[in-house]
């Protein structure tokens, strides 16, 4: 049954900045979107089309002005900040264009960070999981290096491992290969596909790279705050 329930569902989602003022700007207009489990989807569109706003709403970092958002079949509009934070921690992993690793910590500690925030993992279990994820990313050798001492590709792979720490069903990636050279970008993309295949996590990837977009299961294009590709 759980397999048939979409991991993400949006119904008529709009987003208006400066609502209730004369300067109100609607950037998303009635978005309907469904993302099934194990799907690997690219979200494309020109700059300023509303992709990042949509990703922030899907990632529970921002709230829609109207419409409904379901994560794992849970409708989130009535959730308070604490509930959204908990749901975000358990159900959504983030990978950004910049890795945003905490420079004062090692790769291993960075991967442990979401589990630390969750506070439900014993210390040893956190270490073991972080080590396993970094091994999966081919970074076991560098796990005790400070984040600053890793290459760009390695840092992005650590960021992916961190996104997987809580084993979330949905990974949101905002230009994950945007800062990487072609070779590193391919490595990172292949890694995400492998995770998708092995772990069954769904991916929603914002990208401007058409080659990468074509290698996804499906492409959703956003133009002027509307989805122009049928879901």
């Amino acid at each position: 049954m759980a397999e048939t329930v979409p991991v993400l569902r949006l119904e008529g989602v709009t987003k208006t900045y400066n609502a209730d003022t004369a300067a109100a700007v609607e950037v998303l207009h009635g978005i309907d979107l469904i993302l099934q489990r194990r799907e690997f989807v690219a979200l494309t569109g020109p700059s300023g089309s509303g992709k990042s706003t949509l990703l922030n709403i899907v990632g529970l970092l921002d709230r829609p002005t109207t419409g409904k958002l379901f994560i794992d079949n849970r409708e989130t509009s009535a959730y308070g900040d604490a509930e959204l934070t908990r749901l975000r921690g358990h159900s959504i992993g983030f990978v950004f264009q910049h890795h945003y690793l905490l420079s004062a910590f090692t790769a291993l500690e960075n991967v442990m960070m979401p589990m630390l925030a969750d506070r439900e993992f014993p210390n040893e279990a956190m270490r073991e999981r972080a080590h396993a994820l970094l091994s999966e990313m081919g970074l076991a050798k560098w796990e005790n290096n400070l984040a600053n001492n890793l290459s760009g590709g390695q840092q992005q792979r650590v960021a992916i491992a961190r996104a997987l720490a809580m084993n979330p069903p949905l990974i949101l990636a905002d230009e994950p290969t945007g800062n990487l050279d072609t070779k590193s970008a391919d490595t990172v993309f292949d890694m995400m596909r492998k995770i998708n295949a092995d772990n069954g996590a769904s991916f929603l990837i914002v990208t401007h790279n058409n080659d990468l977009a074509r290698r996804c299961d499906r492409i959703i294009e956003v133009v002027d705050g509307r989805i122009v590709t049928p879901p």
């Binding site: 970092l61 934070t85 921690g89 983030f94 945003y100 960070m113 925030a117």
Partner: protein, 389 residues
Amino acid sequence: MQTLFILAGVAIGVGVIVFMSGLLSSLQANFIRRVLTSQPHIQIIAPDEVARPLRVAPSGVVVASIVQRPAQRLRSIDQWQMIRTQLLRRADITNVSPTVTASALAVRGDASRSITLTGIDPEVYFNIVKLPDYIILGQPRVTSEDIIIGAELAKDLGVSVGDKVNVTAASGALRALTISAIFDLGNKGANERSTFVALRTAQALSNLVGGVTSIDITIQDVYAADTIAASVQAEVGMQVDSWIKTNAQFFTAVNAQKISNTAIRGFVGLSVAFGIASVLVVSVIQRSKDIGILRAMGASQNQILRIFLLQGALLGFLGSLVGSLVGRQSLVFLHSFLRQADGSELFPLILEPSLFVAAVALASVTGVVAAAVPAIRAAKLDPVVAIRG
């Protein structure tokens, strides 16, 4: 780097507070120790004689009268034995010593000096005034034939231990007494005038046989002297003075010092608090992306709040540990540097552990309070805005 600077700032602030507080307590304790080793905590003295007009004006009539204050002759405290027994029953009183204090003249050959003759019961009195601690020559023996005198008086009269000195009281009575000891109270005036004889000798010389002019008392809690004195006064109906009252000027000075010290501590504390707050405000701005990421990864607002509050507390705690050490060492250095002419210490160094505990606790709390505003600001950061920078 900025963390190191603010740690140094906190350390200097706490160091100043510890140094000043330690110095003030040491000087204050030194004075109190000096005062209380040479005077009783509480003294009961005979009430003053007062004159009353003989003629009382009948109702509706005004009578002009001049009432002169009578000269105060030496008087004994009425029923002093009963009062002593009564006082000894109280748990807050440790020693009760009846004394006779009178003026007299000490004569040796052609030299004579006016003296204050204090008649004591040495067994009890030495528990109140630690005279034996100040003896520089001889033994603190006080039989009916003995007298203990100060170093200045001995020099003026050209006498030493074992010599005799004639003592003539204001009553005209004369006794030849043997000097059993010479003391140095560290005060020239006291060393010139104060002398101690047996209670009976003083009674006989001052024509006050069986009587005493004052009752000296020591108590458990020296700082409760005022309250206990008031209670004793109510109990015995005599004039009762506490050492706090008789040294009121000193306490005024101490209070002024305390107020200025508290003000300085307050300003130093404020500057430490603002220092910590400014560092944390900058830290929140610098780390806003990290905060945004932590929030995106599931860290709650409370967790972010706690991180910054803890950082403030740690800055206060670590800075105050270093500051306490610096303050302590500065005081130890000053103490070893400041000496009296004879090379002895100027004041006893009193460094209560509670001072350091209080300084560290206060600095840690200040750190938390100072961190409150930046911590709330960090916790309320919108993750999207924070990540976008």
